[in-house]
């Protein structure tokens, strides 16, 4: 298929919404990185910066939603063009949620200012956030490159994120059972870990959009669920 539309401004519109999406992705990656850094370094100024920065992500999402609605109304896109617009809308929602999760992490980081740290757990949560931040970055790369194989690989990767979360969950549980003074910090860090783990789910969602964009079909939902912590409060962190 020829890549260019006869109406060149149609191409510019489609490129425009995808460029805005990538800009939003960049802000979300930065927010995730900074929230993780703020937590580990106990840098409350940086946490505050992340909290405030979420507004920018929300504004960008609103711009993308407005522009995609306009494009649908004015261009009546079909086939791959329609899927491009639909996936941009969907991915912008995923990214907006990731922005919220980074903000939640930052808020909880500020809330833990008075609680004493549990040794080892901060490093583990840092590992988890590094892992999901790369998942987000790669899922956006796969989208822009229309790389279905990479998208599938990212979906597989989510099981590993779940495993890191499970390990951290068990470790926090042990610390809290051993010493009740750990409970305040342990609870906060558990919510934070759950938020980070959710980012991995959004990266999976973005990867699924890439597969839909290219193949016009959604992948079967048969990826292994590795969250073994389902003890009735699985989604408490949302």
């Amino acid at each position: 298929m020829n890549s260019k539309h006869i109406v060149a401004s149609f191409d510019r519109d489609l490129e425009g919404i995808q460029a805005a999406l990538m800009k939003m992705g960049g802000l979300v990656e930065e927010a995730l990185r900074n929230s993780a850094k703020a937590l580990e370094a106990r840098d409350f100024d940086l946490a505050e910066k992340v909290r405030k920065g979420d507004r920018l992500i929300d504004e960008l999402e609103l711009t993308i939603k407005t522009d995609t609605a306009k494009l649908l109304a004015l261009r009546s896109p079909t086939a791959v063009d329609l899927r491009t617009v639909l996936t941009v809308m969907e991915i912008s929602s995923h990214l907006e949620r990731c922005g919220d999760l980074a903000k939640n992490i930052a808020k909880r980081t500020i809330a833990t200012a008075d609680a004493s740290n549990i040794s080892g757990t901060l490093a583990a949560s840092r590992r988890l956030s590094n892992f999901v931040e790369i998942m987000i970055r790669d899922s956006l790369d796969a989208y822009i490159q229309r790389d279905v194989e990479m998208a599938k690989e990212i979906i597989e990767r989510d099981a590993e994120a779940d495993q890191i979360y499970n390990t951290l969950f068990r470790s926090l549980l042990t610390h809290m059972m051993e010493d009740h003074r750990n409970i305040a910090f342990g609870m906060h860090l558990h919510f934070i870990a759950k938020n980070i783990e959710r980012v991995g789910d959004h990266a999976t969602g973005i990867a699924e959009q890439t597969i839909y964009l290219v193949t016009n079909a959604f992948p079967d939902d048969d990826r292994p669920k590795s969250d073994a912590t389902a003890l009735g409060f699985r989604d408490a962190g949302e």
Binding site: M1, N2, S3, I6, T78, A79, D81, R83, N216
Partner: protein
């Protein structure tokens, strides 16, 4: 993927009305239609789309042997309606065209009264035995053409005095008056404004419960709006034929995708 419109109307699309096999058309040295094979379902709107000169109108005109009237035009291949070969010696093209009605791009009412525009076909085909019966046929056709309420008080006035949209609906009513099974429409809305277009599209939607409607259109959005099946023609080939929702969301041929997304003309 299910087309919501099919479910809504509970349309049975299993009956084939028209089968075309290895249809080739030449205009002098020009090979206009190349080996087209297609099955067109009954009680369905089928849209033919494609760039100018792709052969969609030529193929449409094969279906009621309108190409017979063009000297340099040669049609080869097998076209059957309800299993009957339309090129069979026993088939009278005039009778055929009463069963396969046609509506053209430009509304072309006869310079006669509204009543006579509709009554013309039934009269020459001897469909009415009395004046009362003819009146009934005219009213029924005008009602089905969704124009009765607008013209019932001025049936003796000239059909050419109507607005463009009304004229086109009059022509559709005229085509219906001979009780056809199939309605061919060649760009029926391209000379109409958006409101008149919407009225004709609504009419097409009504008509396909009783007729097999085939519409040639340059407006892909119109094809998407009115049809259940879409055929994409390109350079005389039938490139792709499928459910309209599939053609517009998941075309299988890269040429179809390029065309419907506006990448090739």
């Amino acid at each position: 993927m299910n087309d919501m419109r099919k479910i809504e109307r509970d349309v049975k699309m299993t009956d084939t009305k028209i089968t075309a096999r290895n249809v080739n058309v030449h205009y002098g040295d020009t090979h206009a239609i190349k080996d087209v094979n297609v099955d067109i379902a009954d009680k369905t709107v089928t849209a033919f789309i494609g760039p100018s000169g792709c052969g969609k109108s030529t193929f449409l005109r094969c279906l009621n042997r309108m190409n017979d009237t063009i000297d340099v035009c040669r049609v080869q291949g097998d076209i059957r309606i309800d299993g009957k070969d339309i090129h069979d010696k026993s088939v009278d093209p005039v009778q055929l065209r009463a069963h396969v009605g046609m509506v053209f791009q430009k509304p072309n009412p006869f310079p006669k009264s509204i009543y006579d525009n509709i009554a013309y076909g039934p009269r020459i085909h001897g469909l009415a035995k009395s004046k009362a019966e003819l009146d009934e046929i005219v009213e029924k056709a005008l009602r089905r053409g969704a124009i009765w309420d607008e013209v019932k008080d001025r049936l003796t006035q000239s059909g050419t005095g109507l607005s463009g949209g009304q004229q086109q609906r009059l022509c559709i009513a005229r085509a219906i008056a001979t009780e056809p099974d199939i309605l061919l429409m060649d760009e029926p809305c391209s000379a109409l404004d958006p409101i008149a277009t919407a009225q004709v599209e609504e009419l097409i939607d009504e008509l396909h419960r009783d007729y097999s409607v085939i519409i040639v259109t340059h407006s892909m959005q119109q094809a998407a709006r009115v049809s259940q099946k879409t055929a994409f023609f390109h350079l005389g080939n039938l490139v792709e034929f499928g459910d309209t929702d599939q053609i517009f969301t998941d075309p299988k041929d890269p040429r179809t995708e390029s065309y419907i997304t506006g990448r090739i003309g």
